[in-house]
Each structure stands twice: as structure tokens, then as C-alpha cells.
């Protein structure tokens, strides 16, 4: 699993990956009450807004950590947004993406580097 400084994670090796938000991000957001997901087939570039998560208090963007095409979205999330808090790095995944450039994964942090980064916040 690899991470961004915006607290998204990417999991997968080939050219298809799952994307979600880290346990740290889920904790910071508080209870997620609404999730907005992109349409399947949408092309996104690394850094583009990919999804929206909302707590009682505020809405936050989830950014695409890498470029690609949305192959699937987690259709359970809109009815069960609490999954993002319960299992942020597993069942709380947001989208499956077909990578445009698998080499982009190398620009992301591994878990150790991410934990070192979190310690600086």
C-alpha cells in the first residue's frame, strides 16, 4: 500500500489499483456521513478531485493519487458511509482505477515513509 501527503492510499501491483483514504485521514474527518463517487469511465489525472467525503461539519475532497480511468466504484459506500471510518484501508475503498502510467506509483510513499511523514504533522 502506498500513500500521498493528502492521505490517500493506493493498493495493487499491476495496472489496476484500489484507492481510498488512510486511517489517519478518516480519524481527522470524524464520522463520515456522505460519500460522493465519480462515474465509472471517468478519466482523471493525478491531483484531480476524485471523490468527496463529508462529515457533519464539512466536505473534503479526495484527490486522485495517480492518473487513470475509473473502472469501478465502491457502491456500498453511499448507503454505508460509516465504512470509511470502520475500515478505511480495506472495505472503505472508494474507486478502482486503471493506471495510465504504472511508474507513477513510484512517486508515492510506502507505509514507513508515510508514518514518518505523519509524525511531522
Amino acid at each position: 500500500m502506498r500513500f500521498t501527503k493528502e492521505h490517500e492510499w493506493v493498493e495493487g501491483d499491476g495496472d489496476v489499483v484500489e484507492i481510498g483514504i488512510s486511517a489517519y485521514a478518516a480519524g481527522q474527518l470524524g464520522d463520515v456521513v456522505f460519500v460522493e463517487l465519480p462515474e465509472v469511465g471517468k478519466q482523471v489525472k493525478a491531483g484531480d478531485p476524485l471523490a468527496v467525503v463529508e462529515s457533519v461539519k464539512a466536505a473534503s475532497d479526495v484527490y486522485a493519487p495517480v492518473s487513470g480511468e475509473v473502472l469501478a466504484v465502491n457502491t456500498d459506500l453511499p448507503d454505508h458511509p460509516e465504512t470509511v471510518n470502520a475500515m478505511p484501508e480495506k472495505d472503505g475503498w472508494f474507486v478502482k482505477l486503471k493506471l495510465t502510467d504504472p511508474d507513477q506509483l513510484d512517486t508515492l510513499m510506502d507505509r514507513h515513509a508515510y508514518e514518518v511523514f505523519l509524525a511531522t504533522l
Binding site: 470524524g30 456522505f34 463529508e54 457533519v56
Partner: protein
């Protein structure tokens, strides 16, 4: 984390940090936005049990006649007459021990602040009014009041003290365990009680739609009272995040968001806060505007909205059936009690009726919104039987 070095603190700031609260800047104060449970759980706890809120950042104050006559009723009439020209409420008609919600108005009849004004119960305290104004507006409010009363009355700030709100269906039990005398208070009345030998001011009021109290106490007393109340398993500390979602469900406007200096009491649907006597006499700032608005010359009205889909937050545009933009959301979010998004905003009066089908624009997309009578969640005040 907010930077505590440049912010004002309350007598309870250290207690919040020790309890693991997430602190934010609010109106220049270092305040808890949530504790470890988070906004959603704190909100629901308050609706089911008892929430304790530090609202010491607000502006409690006493307005006292400089030269009272000693005649209790004459002294009340005199102090009420000094403050009435600034507000639209009936202060002369306050009974002893009664608290009233009223509005400070500018010359155009726009709302400068919303505030509580109370008349003390005791004979020896007549000729005094107890005020609580908003945190973000208190400096301007106090200047305005001082300028209006001149040397005939003295404004004594009490915002160095602790102000604790105790709210929820178990607020009475939690509070009466310490102050049995609160059983005699009904909604919008006030009195005094003693905690460990020191007097505190208690009113039966709040900002959640629930039954509850606000207790004003000297700083050290407030700290001990906060700890004592939290030792009751029915009580938990609640941050500003849940305070906002609770007041939104209760349909209560937030100054600086739902109310500002351009908005009149009638536009804000706060007709109840405009005294009938004073409307008839047209003796408050912007009275002619209020009379005209009540006669039908109204261009906008604050309404509640039930929203489909994503929460519509402050600033979202409101549309009519023809997709024309007709107003804006002034506060909105997710209602924990209803499990759905709710909002407040301003729309033309013709579209302000309950059931009107409107739209809101969220992230560029139109979603359905229906005008809904407020409160969204019924009030549970303990009114006098």
C-alpha cells in the same frame, strides 16, 4: 491544533486540552470543536442524555442603573427604558426572573446581534438587566450599549467568568443534583444558586432545542463546577461542532451566518422577537420597515430546507422550479438526528411556504430541496405548566 499563544482562553481551556479536545480558533478564543467522541456522537448524546458546553467566550454582562431610586418596579422601568431604544423586544414588560430573546438593531432595522436579556428575581437587584451577547460581536455591542445609556447606567462585563450550558433530557437531573432550586425554574426564567458557598447565576435556556440551563460562575468556581458535573455519568463535554448541528436542527439562527446587519427581524422569521406594543408604537430602530414587511412588503424570508443528496452548506445557491437562482443557503449540514441533510436560507416569500419544491446547487449540480417548517427536530423546553 490552534496556536494557543495568540488566542484568548476561558476558565475551562485547560480542562478541554486535558480531556483531549480538538481545539480551534473561534471569535478569537481557543475553543474545543470536538472531544474524543466526535461531533456525531456528541450531538446524539446531547439529544439523549446531557451535554456540557463551555460558552464562556460569549458576552455575559450586567447593565445597572447608576442611581437607583430604591423603588423596585420604578428602577426596572428605568433600566428597561435605557436599553429598549436599541432593541425590538419588550423589556419593560419583563417579569421578575424572566429572560427574553431579543435583537439589537441598526437604524435601518438590520440585526446587529441577537441576545438574551433577563430581569433579576430579587428585590434588591431591580434596576439591573442581565445580558448575554454573541462572542464575535460583543465588543461592538458593548460600545453601542455604553454610548446609548451614557452615565445613567453602567455596563459591567462578566466575560472573564465561566459560562456553562447544560443541555439535554437529563440536564435537569444532572443540574438539580447540585442545585435543587433549579426545579423551580421554567423555560426562559432565571435565578441564583450557591455552589460551595459562592453565588452563581442560572437561567433555564440554551441553544440546542433541548431543556437545559446556562450557569454563569466566577472562573475558579466554574472550573470546579465543570469537573463536578462531568463526574455525573449522564453528562459529557460537547464541542462547538455539535453545538452548531444541534442549533441547526432546532431551527435557531447563528449570528454572522443566518443573521447579519442587512437582515431584518421579519426577514429572519423572528417575528416572535418583535414586541407587539413596540410595533404599534413604532418605537424601535427600523420599526417602519418591520410594519411594512408585515403588511406584505417583504422580499425574502428565512426558511428551513430538507435537502436530497449531498449536504448543502453555507453559500450554496437555492433555485426555483424554473432553475432560476432565488436565494442562498446561510447554514446547512447533515442532521445526525434525522440522518439527512438540512439547511436554512433565504427565499422570496412566495416560495417560503412549507412544502415548496426548490433546488440547491452543490458542486455544480442541482439537488431537490423542500421548504420545511422549523424546528427540524421538535423543541423539548420545560415551559411553565
Amino acid at each position: 491544533m490552534s496556536d494557543p499563544t495568540t488566542l484568548k482562553t476561558t476558565p475551562l481551556t485547560e480542562a478541554h486540552r486535558a480531556a483531549g479536545a480538538r481545539m480551534v480558533e473561534f471569535a478569537g478564543y481557543d475553543m474545543p470543536v470536538q472531544y474524543e467522541g466526535g461531533v456525531l456522537k456528541e450531538h446524539l448524546w446531547t439529544r439523549e442524555h446531557c451535554g456540557l458546553f463551555d460558552v464562556s467566550h460569549m458576552g455575559p454582562a450586567f447593565l445597572r442603573l447608576t442611581a437607583p431610586s430604591g423603588d423596585a418596579d420604578a428602577d426596572h422601568a428605568a433600566i428597561a427604558a435605557l436599553l429598549e431604544p436599541l432593541v425590538c423586544g419588550d423589556l419593560k414588560g419583563l417579569k421578575r426572573g424572566q429572560l427574553r430573546y431579543t435583537l439589537l438593531l441598526n437604524a435601518q432595522g438590520g440585526i446587529v446581534d441577537d441576545l438574551m436579556v433577563g430581569r433579576p428575581l430579587a428585590d434588591e437587584r431591580q434596576g439591573l438587566l442581565q445580558l448575554v451577547v454573541n462572542a464575535g460581536t460583543k465588543e461592538g455591542d458593548f460600545d453601542r450599549i455604553r454610548a446609548a445609556v451614557g452615565d445613567r447606567a453602567e455596563l459591567v462585563r462578566a466575560d472573564d467568568r465561566g459560562l456553562i450550558a447544560v443541555q439535554g433530557p437529563e440536564a435537569e437531573a444532572v443540574t438539580a443534583a447540585i442545585f435543587p432550586e433549579v426545579m423551580d425554574l421554567s423555560f426562559m426564567t432565571l435565578g441564583r444558586a450557591s455552589f460551595e458557598g459562592t453565588e452563581v447565576e442560572i437561567s433555564r435556556s440554551g441553544y440546542t432545542g433541548e431543556d437545559g440551563f446556562e450557569i454563569l460562575a466566577m472562573p475558579e468556581v466554574a472550573r470546579r463546577l465543570w469537573d463536578r458535573m462531568l463526574s455525573d455519568p449522564r453528562a459529557k463535554p460537547i464541542g462547538l461542532g455539535a453545538r452548531d448541528s444541534l442549533r441547526l436542527e432546532a431551527g435557531l439562527p447563528l449570528y454572522g451566518h443566518d443573521l447579519d446587519e442587512t437582515v431584518s427581524p421579519i426577514e429572519a422569521a423572528l417575528d416572535f422577537a418583535v414586541s407587539k406594543r413596540r410595533l404599534k408604537a413604532e418605537d424601535f430602530p427600523g420599526a417602519a420597515r418591520a410594519v411594512g414587511e408585515l403588511a406584505g412588503r417583504l422580499t425574502r424570508r428565512r426558511v428551513g430546507l430538507r435537502v436530497e443528496g449531498a449536504p448543502a452548506r453555507e453559500g450554496a445557491e437555492i433555485t426555483d422550479a424554473a432553475d432560476a437562482v432565488i436565494g442562498k443557503v446561510t447554514s446547512g449540514g447533515f442532521s445526525p438526528s434525522l440522518g439527512a441533510p438540512i439547511a436554512m436560507g433565504y427565499v422570496p416569500p412566495a416560495l417560503a411556504e412549507s412544502g415548496a419544491h426548490l433546488g440547491v446547487i452543490v458542486r455544480g449540480r442541482q439537488q431537490a430541496a423542500t421548504v420545511t417548517a422549523m424546528p427540524f427536530v421538535p423543541h423539548r423546553y420545560r415551559r411553565k405548566p
